[in-house]
Amino acid sequence: MKKRGGIGFRLFVFGVLFICSSSGFAYTLLDGNFELKGYVRNITAVRTENPHGGLGGDQFKSGDVELSKSFLQLEGTYTVSPNVKVYSRWRGDYDASFDIKGQDKFPPAVVDDQRLGNEFRELFVDIRQGPLFLRLGKQQVVWGESDGLRLADVINPLDFRWHYFLEDWQDIRQGLPMARAIYALTEKTDLEFVWAPVTFKPAKWAGVGTYWEFPGAGIGGIPEKKYDTNINNGSVGGKIKTTLGSGFDVSVYDYYHRFESPTAELTSAGLDFAHPFVNSIGGTFNTFFNPLKTVFRGEAVYNSNEPHNDFSKPDYISKKNTISFMLGADRPTYLPINSESSFLSAQVFYKKVLSPDATTIMFGDSAAPGKKDAQTMMSFAISTPYTYLIPNAVLTPSFFVFYDVIGSGWARPMVNLKYGDNLSVSLAYNKFWGHPDGRGYFDPFSDRSEAYVDVKYSFQ
């Protein structure tokens, strides 16, 4: 078991003191070539309905604090020369909900894994030489055009442990040691190459008894499968992006990688979780259509050999080809509710398993009768900033909803207040609902609705 109050905790305390004892802005060293910025943040969430039973997180009742996580993030940038820059991002965190509920309510391994943490989430060097840009080191690489769901954005696996998929992706992507090269062929066209040579990390899942335990896991959680640092576990891909005419952006890409989500596998040693290789070929587009003052964007991906569970197979794994796409539209629009424009955004997602069989099932679906080889979701978002209501502050109410057309969904009304340069406070409610037959992407979370407050003080 890890020592409580280890080096991470000390760094955390040091960091809090650092923030509290300083003022002003622009923390620089080395003649201004090293810049430091960061934030302290706490998010505290309360369950708003009692568990329906049979799923993870049952020990939390309505009104229980299921998350109270505090962070210190430090972000340093060292400009070595105009063409060379080193960037690092370190984050320490402490989740007080384990102590509020009582550490003895959780397996010790889960407490060790999730209560305290600290890591360099990114550490890389940028090198620029003429049309060539290189980024080497632990980093995040983001492709795609979608908001809220990921199609092309699969290069970095996610960490679902502490707030599932409800956070900004950059806060839950796991950094991977990678080489990323972008070569500008022309002002409109560039080639990109990404190689994670020796490392694969699967998605991380919350431990047994935690609120965000994978619903229905019930089999001792989903252990993080460790992969050797080995060239056979690397990922590689490339992308070409160009602008057609004046303003129609397109890209095509291919990425060969292990599938981040686990698939149960029966091996000679017993039940295990596997992450077989998948090849993702896809494309994206975006354009601004002036007559409608609207941005249209989209992406599509064809996954070959995506693993699905089929317990009729000797190893429980059936590999399927799938196709997914997203079409979206964004429009800033003046509404009578605000003198500033409001941002409206809508998306449609579709995923289909090609050559399905009787065992094919989509994420979130139950064994209830019905077609299970396709999934259609829609999303809508609106946000509108008020810059005049409160002196020195911007108040932004926002709302979004994701809806699986089968009949489950997720909605989040939120109010964010940014006060001055440094303070941000958000109040929000994550409402999930499911389908009577237990179907739909969001059905597994149908009793996980929560209200939360998110306070962040940033410094620079």
Binding site: G5, R10, V13, F14, L17, S21, G24, F25, A26, Y27, L29, G32, K37, Y39, E122, D126, R128, P131, F133, R135, Q140, V142, D147, D168, W169, Q170, I182, A184, E187, K188, D190, K241, G245, S246, G247, D249, N286, F288, N290, K293, T294, V295, R297, D330, P332, T333, Y334, S339, E340, S341, T387, Y388, P391, N392, K418, G420, D421, K456, S458, Q460
Partner: protein
């Protein structure tokens, strides 16, 4: 006991480091002083404002009368000159440019499009194509937001611009060949505060009046460049009192407006400011300048109404300096017809570069009683920026 000492030692070491780093604190050493000084001839303040009312813009009059704003008036100095290449181009292409039915400029090559402007649109196209260098870069500027409670909100940003037309100094001249009819590309970025640091917007403006601007924004929180609509240029810039169209006194698309020339008139306008870092007295909750510099100058007075009925301003009155065709200030009315804001730039002459430069720019919200002040601006002109500095790839790779 050991557990107690380790964090304590870490904290002590940390506090020592904090001290060191705090000493290294820097807000940027970008202050500049004007080459021009002079004596204050007189001051216009609340006590004598009515005497000068007809030579003050309506919004500046309200500022002096109701905000205790003081206008120190200095001797008028005419010392701006165009570079010889621009004068030659103006002569060479004189009479070729014209304004089409959509309000767009056609057949423009280089130089001042309308050396003797007769309409509001001609004045504004002169403003758009005044000599600004073939490229320029505001390496840094600060914006302080001052609310009615006197609190400060700060932004730090930069701005880069590459002209595709009217180039007279750096090859290719007079245009950068391109098949898309690009007029100008610009990048606006923010480096403070932390929550929006790294945000950068690439805008491409086209020559065609009917073609809207294209915009791409690198958004640090989503780690990617996102295509955005820049149609709503009436939105506030980073929560300040400036809108995107108020940038550089006026940065809207000229053809998006119907312009009316009200005439040429002597006015007191901010000119030759003493520094790019004017001092303000904010103790009284509303900012008032201590060391600004105004001159009595003849200016073009032009009214502009945006063709979009939903546009944030009902009307914009812009004051354009005939010497340089730079704009010194705007009065801004809301859609109900109420005088809303005053947008003023302290125009200074960068003699070596033959450009006019906004040493500072202030926006006063007369209704909400708040203001935003852009200052500490530093300009570099004709530095040879490349098209590759204005691409989505550059946006993506210059940040994390």
């Amino acid at each position: 006991m050991k557990r107690f000492w380790h964090p304590l030692i870490a904290c002590i070491v940390g506090l020592i480091m904090v001290g060191s780093i705090s000493i290294a604190y820097s807000a940027g050493s970008t202050k500049e002083k004007s080459y021009l000084g002079g004596e204050v001839k007189f001051k216009i303040d609340k006590s004598n404002v009515n005497k000068y009312k007809d030579k003050l813009s309506p919004a500046l009059y309200v500022l002096i009368k109701d905000w205790n704003y003081v206008v120190p008036v200095y001797e008028t100095v005419h010392d701006y000159t165009y570079p010889k290449e621009y004068i030659e181009a103006t002569e060479k292409y004189k009479g070729t440019a014209h304004i089409n039915k959509h309000g767009g400029l056609e057949n423009y090559t280089a130089g001042l499009p309308f050396p003797d402007p007769k309409t509001g649109a001609e004045v504004m196209w002169n403003y758009e194509y005044k000599y600004s260098g073939d490229d320029f870069w505001w390496t840094q500027y600060d914006i302080d937001g001052i609310s009615s409670t006197g609190k400060l909100k700060k932004l730090v940003g930069y701005y880069k611009r590459l002209a595709y037309q009217g180039r007279v100094k750096i090859p290719p001249m007079p245009t950068i060949p391109n098949s898309d009819g690009v007029a100008v590309k610009e990048v606006q970025g923010l480096s403070y505060p932390e929550d929006i640091a790294g945000l950068a917007l690439l805008t491409v403006r086209y020559q065609a009046a009917t073609k809207g601007d294209d915009g791409w924004m690198y958004i640090p929180t989503i780690r990617r460049v996102r295509r955005i609509s820049v149609a709503q240029r009436g939105d506030t810039f980073g929560g300040t009192d400036f809108t995107w169209d108020d940038y550089r006194t006026f940065s809207g698309k000229v053809s998006d407006y119907n312009w009316t020339l009200l005439g040429k008139k002597e006015m007191y306008i901010a000119y030759h400011p003493l520094s790019n870092n004017p001092k303000y007295n904010v103790a009284g909750k509303i900012p008032a300048p201590d060391d600004l510099r105004y001159e009595l100058r003849e200016v073009y007075v032009v009214d502009g109404v945006n063709k979009d009925k939903d546009y944030v301003y009902g009307k914009r009155r812009i004051y354009v300096d005939p010497d340089s065709f730079a704009a010194s200030s705007n009065d801004l009315w809301d859609r109900r017809g109420a005088l809303w804001k005053y947008n003023e730039s302290g125009l200074t002459v960068k003699k070596n570069d033959h450009v006019m430069f906004n040493y500072y720019q202030n926006m006063f919200d007369l209704i909400a009683k708040r203001a935003s002040m852009a200052y500490n601006a530093v300009l570099r002109t004709n530095i040879g920026q490349k098209e590759s500095d204005f691409t989505t790839t550059k946006l993506q790779t210059q940040s994390r």
